[in-house]
Symmetry: C3
Subunit: 344 residues, 3 copies
Amino acid sequence: MANELSTLSPRMARAWYVACLSPELADGPIGRIVMGTPLVLFRGPDGAPAALLDRCAHRNVPLSIGRIVDQRLECAYHGWQYGPDGRCAKIPGLCGEADKEVRSVPCFPTREQDGLVWVYATADVEPEGKPFAVPSIGDGAVVTRRVVEVEAPLHPALENALDVPHTAVLHRGLFRGGKERRRIQAKVTRTAEGVQAEYLGEPRPEGLAAKILSPSGGVVVHFDRFIFPSIAQVEYRLGTDVHFLVNSICTPVSDILTRIHAVIAFRTRLPGWLVKLVLDPVATRIFRQDAFILKAQGGNLRRFGGEHYTSTSIDVLGLQIARLLRGSESGPPEEWTREIELEV
Amino acid sequence: MANELSTLSPRMARAWYVACLSPELADGPIGRIVMGTPLVLFRGPDGAPAALLDRCAHRNVPLSIGRIVDQRLECAYHGWQYGPDGRCAKIPGLCGEADKEVRSVPCFPTREQDGLVWVYATADVEPEGKPFAVPSIGDGAVVTRRVVEVEAPLHPALENALDVPHTAVLHRGLFRGGKERRRIQAKVTRTAEGVQAEYLGEPRPEGLAAKILSPSGGVVVHFDRFIFPSIAQVEYRLGTDVHFLVNSICTPVSDILTRIHAVIAFRTRLPGWLVKLVLDPVATRIFRQDAFILKAQGGNLRRFGGEHYTSTSIDVLGLQIARLLRGSESGPPEEWTREIELEV
Amino acid sequence: MANELSTLSPRMARAWYVACLSPELADGPIGRIVMGTPLVLFRGPDGAPAALLDRCAHRNVPLSIGRIVDQRLECAYHGWQYGPDGRCAKIPGLCGEADKEVRSVPCFPTREQDGLVWVYATADVEPEGKPFAVPSIGDGAVVTRRVVEVEAPLHPALENALDVPHTAVLHRGLFRGGKERRRIQAKVTRTAEGVQAEYLGEPRPEGLAAKILSPSGGVVVHFDRFIFPSIAQVEYRLGTDVHFLVNSICTPVSDILTRIHAVIAFRTRLPGWLVKLVLDPVATRIFRQDAFILKAQGGNLRRFGGEHYTSTSIDVLGLQIARLLRGSESGPPEEWTREIELEV
C-alpha cells in the first residue's frame, strides 16, 4: 500500500528491528531509516551501538553527516556533541552548561547480537521483549548473510518469503516447478505471536538447488514460520544430514521500501564450501527474481491506491501475517490448527 | 491542467481510444495506459487483441510483465492464467476450480482496424458506438503513420493540432508565415459530435512544405475538424490532384501525457516516394516543435494550477473542443454555423 | 520548512528582491522564480529591465521561451507580443485591436542598480520603498560577486550567513576554530527594519583567511546585520587599513531554494589582485561548505515536516530574523539593545 506504515498495529512500534550489520557500524556515524524514522547510529565509549533521532536538536541538521569526537557524536554544523543517551554534552562557544533536557535528542534502545544491530522502534522507553535471536542449527553449520532491499511494503515482502506456490513459477527451474505435481498437506498453526505452516508429504523439490542438496531425493520436513514482528523463517530437513534454516529478518524502512537481513544456515553431507559455491549464484538469482516481482507489485499497489487482493486456500500464511501486522484482531487470537491441501 | 482527466465528461469514458499500433502487439503482452487506466494488451487464441486491467486479481502484480502460455496470459508471480475475457482459467497448486467471479480481471472491449488497436475506456460493458474509422482518400494515396507523445493534457494537444494561427509563428518558414498576410473567412460548424472549420479564400501557404506540394499556388480547400472523443482531422485540397488528410488520433494517457497516433494520407501530382522523401523531415520538425511547445504549456498549466486562458475570435475551435471534452453543455448542443475573419 | 513561503509576513511580498545579475539580461528573455512566482525578464526599448508573469495571457505558454521582436516580447506559440508594461501590443492573424485589459500579463516593478536587476514581489502596484543599495567602502576597494544557490528556505540561509559559532566547526581551519577560545561580548540591537550584532573584543580569527588579511593580529571590529527583507551583511575592520563588507542578498526562490547574490568588497594593505588570488579559493570552499550543510538542513526540515529547533543565547540573530520574516510581532517592535556572551 501507498501508506502501509500507518496501517501497522501500535504493537509494531513496540518491537525490535535490524538497523544494520555489526561491521557497518565502525568508526563514523551512519544514517538508517527504521519504520519511517530517520536514525543516526554510532558506537559509544564502550563500543556498544547507540541510536538517536537523526536530527540535531539545535538546527535540525542530520547528525549522520557528523563525526565522532571525544567518543561523542558531533553535529557537522555547530559542533553540538551528544552522548549515546542523546544528551547534549557540549555546545562550542556557549558560556554555561550544555546539558538541558530540551537539548536532548530522542534515543532509541539498541542491542547487538548475531552480528546484527537491533533498534527498538520507540524512543526513550524501556523496551518490551527482546530482539529475535537467530537460532543455531548446531555445530558445523555454515552461516551466510545477505542484505536485500526490496521496493515494496513489509507485508508483501514477508508473504513472499514464506510463500510456496510462487516458487514453481517465478523461480521455475531453480527451486520447484517440475512437470509432475503432487498433492500434499499443510498444517497451519496460529499462535498469538506468529503463524506456522508445516508441509507434510512434500517430495524433494525438483529444481537445481534441491538436486544438489539431496541427490537421493526423499521426503522433506518443511516449516514456514512468521514470527512477530517481521521475521520470515523457512526450515528444511532431509533425514538427519541435511538441514537448512533461512531467517529473513525484515526491516520496514518506509511505505515503499523493506530491507531484508537474511541469515542462512545449513548443514549437508557435502563440504560447506562446496555447497556455498554451488548455492550462492542460485540464491542470488532467487533473491533478484523476488526483488523484481516485489518492486512490480509495490509499484502497482501505489498506482492503484492500495491492495485489491483475491486469495485462495493455498495463500497459506499471507492473511494471518496481515492480521498480526495490522492488529486487526480484538484481543489475543485463539490458537488453532488447520489443514489445507495444495499441489507442489 | 494538473488533473485534466477528472474534468472530462462521463461520455469520454464511454468511447474508444487507440492503445497501440497493430504490429506492437505481437507475441507477448504489453502495458499501455489509457485515460489514466493501466491496461495489459495481448492477443487471444484467435489472434484478436484483448485488453485487461494491468493488475493480477491475486497479488496485484502487473500482468504486462507476464507471458503467454497455452494462449492465455500468465502472471509472472504465481502463474495465474487469464483468458482474453479476463476470467481466471488456471491457478497452479490449487486443488479445485480456478474460475470464480472474484478472480476475474476487468476486461475492456477491443477492436482492431486501420492498423490500430482500439480499446473502450470502460470495462465489462457493451460498448456504445464504434471506433473512429480512418477515411480513405482513394486509391493511389500514400499513407504514413507517426506516433508522438506530448507532455500535455488532451485539450491543448487537440487544440494545437487544429490551430491555424500558431503555424505562422511556431512553424515559421516551414508552413505559413510569409511577409504578406491576407484576410480570409472561416466558417465554423458545430454539431453534437464535433466542430469543423472551413477556411475560405486561403492562398496556398508560403512555407517550404506548401511550395513542394503545389508549385503553382492556387486557392486551397481546407477543413479542420474535431471528431468526438479525440480525433483532430486536417484536410487540404488543391484542385483535384493534391489531397492531404491528417488524422491525429489522440489518446489521453494521464493528466500530463497525450499519445498521438497520426495517420497521414496524401495524393499529389508527384510520385509518392518523392513527396514522402521531401516531406518526412519537414513533418518531423513540425511535430517536434509542437511537442516542445505543448510540453512548455503543460508544465506551466501544472505550476500555475490550471488554465488561465484568454481567447480571441481566431481561436477558432479550442473553446468548442473544451465544451465537448468537458461536457459543459446541458443536453445536446444546438447545431449552428458562424463565420469569423482572420489573417493568414 | 516544507512550505516556508506561506509562513512569510505579507510585508515580504511588498519588498524588492534580486532577480538576476545585470549582464545575465542581454538580448533575449530569461526566466527566474522569485518568491515562488515564475517571472520572465527582458529589456524594453529603453534598455531598462522589465519583469512580467512568465505566462502568456493566451494559452499560458512561458514567455521566457519566446524572443524579442520589434523591442517587444513575443510568445513562441502564437506570437502575441507584449510591451515592458505587460500590455499586449500585437496578435498575429487577429483582425482588430490587440490591446485589451484581459490580454495583459501582470507586470512587476523593476530597478537596476549595483549591477543587479531587482524586482518588486507584487505585480501591478506602486512599490513601497526602494531596493537595498549596496554600500560603498570607499575608493580603491575591490568588489567581487558570487551567485550561490542553496537548497534550503530563506530563513536558514540568512541565519547561516550571519552566524558566528558555526564558523569554528563547519569552516574549521579556514575561518575560526583555533585551540584557544576567548570569551567576548556581542551587543545586539534591534530596530523595526532589522537586527545587528556588534562583536566586542574579538581577536583576529585564527584561520587561514584571517592570517592573510591581517598578519599582525589585532582586535577586530565586527558587525553582523540583517536588513529587511533578505539581506545579510557582515562587516570586518582591522584598524584603518583592512575593511571587509560582505552583502549576501538573498532571493527566496521557492520553499526549498534560496539564491544568494553576494557582493564582496574589501580593502587591505596588500594589492587587491593578490588578496583576491588568495581568498577566492577559500571563499569558494566556505560557500560550498555552507551550501552542503544548508541542503542537509533543508532536507531534514522537509522530511520532519518543519522546524524542531532549540536555541541558546549564542544563536545571536536567528530568532529575530524569524520574527521579521514571519511578521510574528503585533505592530512595530520595540527597539532595544542587549548584551550576550560567547566564546570564539
